[in-house]
């Protein structure tokens, strides 16, 4: 089983990286770029044998404890290939 976790900065939290990337894209000629936010994309490979529900529960715990910094970040979990 495979899980995908998307970790993004909370709304309102400064994203220095995104800002720098947006600026650089528009100075490279991509004027249509209005905003860029940088987050993490985490692929987790899990041992088979558990249900998608159970897996999601465990992933939530992993996010809370390690994968995301919940003071400034939100996360979203997707279970694939169950």
């Amino acid at each position: 089983m495979q899980a995908r976790v998307y970790v993004t900065l909370k709304r309102g939290v400064l994203d220095p990286q995104g800002k720098a990337v947006a600026l650089s894209l528009s100075s490279m000629g991509f004027e249509e770029v209005e905003d860029v936010r940088l987050g993490k994309f985490i692929e987790v490979k899990l041992a088979d044998g558990s249900s998608p529900e159970k897996a999601k529960e465990r992933l939530t715990e992993m996010c809370q404890r390690l994968l995301a910094n919940t003071v400034i970040e939100d996360y979203r979990i997707e279970i694939v290939g169950a």
């Binding site: 939290v13 220095p16 800002k19 910094n69 003071v71 400034i72």
Partner: protein, 577 residues
């Protein structure tokens, strides 16, 4: 702005009922919410030093070398040949406990700004850290986050972190300490100050845009923690060392011109403290148009703009007609810049929002007129018992060798290489004596250098605050002198518990008295410092931790000494008692 000010609103602003009465008296009317917010920030412990001010007056703050004592963004000491050094230490304890990486990073960013606003180029940083018991579940997480945050910010901006200290003790379990120090070099005759002089001069905002970061952080830092503060998590400030590096270069470039009369960084309490303090020092007033402030988010209110703690921002007062020089330099460095107001002779701070007057406050009550408390003090009842303990009554260790090994393995005593390896301690080609010894030595110019050390034997301060305060100064001065530096100035960061408790207030007053007496004895003036109170969780205070950083002048960097044994056959001597 028509919110009615209820006792609950007053309380959530960290103001006591009698303080609110004083505000009404000073205003001669009810404040509106924006005005209340500004008072709450300016009268917070963090900005007003209301519990500590009385005691700090006992520090010796002058001397033949002192060019700027406490009261400015940083202290400045003459080092001869037309050069001076500016330095200061600041705490970022509460933010670091909530989000260690960003808390520590923005602490570094803040102290750097304090130094380069004086017109000094930062050349070295130190930090003094305290964490809980190594086995406490949060300790490792805090330690990793704090050191990574210091590294992340300091390395990126290119100021070497050349030393510091770290200690672990259970008293810091719920309240770590992160104290950051920076020193910079400047021409002795070109010191910039946070002064809004010259009626009619433009007030200019530069740096990063304002967001809703850490609103109420300054009042939070002055309130004791409880279980729920981890829930209440305010919007944490995120640092951007890249923007700060641009801000540093742009400010120093601007200071080469004669376009500005005053400059101050927006630290905790952001636009509020910078504008009020600059006006206060000059005895002037300020008019500001908050809608002209560069904003990062939509729908921000004047209240949020004034209380935001967004990082990497500065407030500048320029000479009339020189706005374009300021704008040109900041645009060159791709930074935001906006003329937001002007200096007035009204003695009041007037804030406008799309042309409407949104707040009008007299400056004096916000600064000089802030409350000063002589809080009750009492010697802790258990101190006699603690002091009566005679270590000689302990049985001698059976195996001295293994006891020694156990001792050197204690995290507080063990090598800190794990930490300072993560800090770029060599950038700028100045680090003559690297971390790992008693004090670092950094080249200033030619053969001239400075020796730097930050210390605090906090257990000693706990057991005897007066003696502990003296020992703190003695230790830092000794560390500086053994590498070849003559102590010429000191900055402090006084970390204590809740000053409303008489025992804590007594610890504070005694430690300050000890520091002051030792500084007098060693002829080392205190030129800057910072107080961090309410370092308590659930009623349990930390060890009193009045950290001191001493700066020593090294006349010849080729004549310094280091701690390690050099060669077999050399003789070993033991000095002192």
């Amino acid at each position: 702005m028509s919110t009615e000010i209820t006792p609950e609103i007053v309380a959530t602003h960290g103001l006591k009922p009698d303080e609110y009465e004083r505000i009404q008296a000073a205003m001669k009317r009810e404040p509106n919410l924006l005005e209340l917010g500004i008072f709450s920030v300016m009268w917070s412990e963090h900005c007003s030093y209301k519990s500590s001010r009385k005691h700090l007056r006992g520090f010796p703050t002058s001397g033949p070398r002192v060019l700027q004592g406490p009261g400015e963004n940083a202290g400045v000491v003459d080092i001869g040949d037309g050069l001076a050094v500016a330095f200061k230490m600041e705490s970022h304890n509460h933010p670091s406990y909530i989000e260690p990486y960003q808390g520590a990073a923005t602490g570094v960013g803040g102290i750097l700004r304090d130094v380069f606003t004086m017109g000094a180029r930062p050349i070295a940083s130190l930090n003094s850290l305290r964490f809980g018991d190594p086995s406490h579940p949060k300790t490792a997480w805090l330690l990793e986050g704090v050191t990574a945050g210091i590294a992340g910010y300091g390395n990126a901006i290119g100021v070497p972190t050349v030393g510091g200290e770290i200690a672990f003790d259970a008293s810091y379990n719920g309240n770590c300490l992160v104290n950051a120090f920076t020193l910079g070099v400047l021409p002795a005759d070109k010191i910039f100050r946070g002064n809004a002089s010259g009626v009619g001069n433009p007030v200019i905002y530069v740096g990063a845009k304002t967001g809703r970061d850490g609103i109420h952080g300054a009042t939070m830092a002055s309130a004791e923690f409880d279980e729920s503060s981890e829930e209440k998590r305010p919007t944490v400030q995120v640092g951007d060392p890249f923007v700060e590096k641009l801000l540093l270069e742009a400010c120093l470039e601007l200071m080469q011109t004669d376009a500005i009369v005053g400059i101050q960084d927006m630290g905790a309490a952001g636009l509020t403290s910078s504008s009020v303090e600059m006006a206060g020092r000059a005895g002037n007033g300020l008019d500001m148009h908050l809608d002209r402030v560069p904003m990062r988010e939509e729908g921000m209110t004047p209240y949020e703009i004034m209380l935001s703690e967004s990082q990497e921002r500065m407030l500048i007062v320029a000479k009339v007609g020189r706005e374009k020089d300021v704008v040109a330099i900041f645009e060159k460095w791709d930074l935001d810049v906006a003329v937001v107001g002007s200096v007035s002779d009204t003695g009041t701070l007037r804030l406008f929002w799309h042309g409407q007057l949104a707040a009008e406050l007299p400056i004096d009550p916000l600064t000089e007129g802030a409350p000063v408390y002589d809080r009750p003090r009492q010697r802790p009842a258990d101190l006699d018992a603690l002091q009566a303990f005679d270590p000689a009554t302990l049985p001698a260790p059976a195996d001295l060798g293994s006891t020694l090994l156990q001792l050197v393995a204690r995290p507080t005593i063990a090598s800190k290489e794990w930490v300072y390896r993560q800090y770029d301690h060599m950038v700028r080609l100045g680090t003559v004596v690297r971390p790992g010894g008693d004090a670092a030595v950094v080249r200033v110019e030619g053969k001239k250098g400075v020796a730097l050390s930050a210390d605090c034997p906090s257990r000693m301060v706990y057991l005897d605050p007066y003696m502990g305060g003296m020992l703190t100064v003695a230790e830092a001065s000794r560390n500086v002198s053994v590498v070849g530096g003559e102590p010429i100035g000191l900055t402090d960061c006084l970390n204590f518990g809740n000053p409303e408790k008489p025992e804590i207030m007594w610890q504070f007053a005694e430690a300050v008295r000890g520091i002051a007496d030792a500084c007098r004895a060693l002829d080392v003036p205190v030129v800057s410092g910072n107080v961090s109170l309410y370092n308590e969780t659930d009623g349990k205070g930390i060890f009193p931790t009045p950290t001191c950083a001493v700066v020593g002048l090294v006349p010849d960097i080729e004549r310094t000494s280091t701690t390690w044994w050099k060669e077999a056959g050399h003789e070993i001597a033991l000095l002192g008692t």
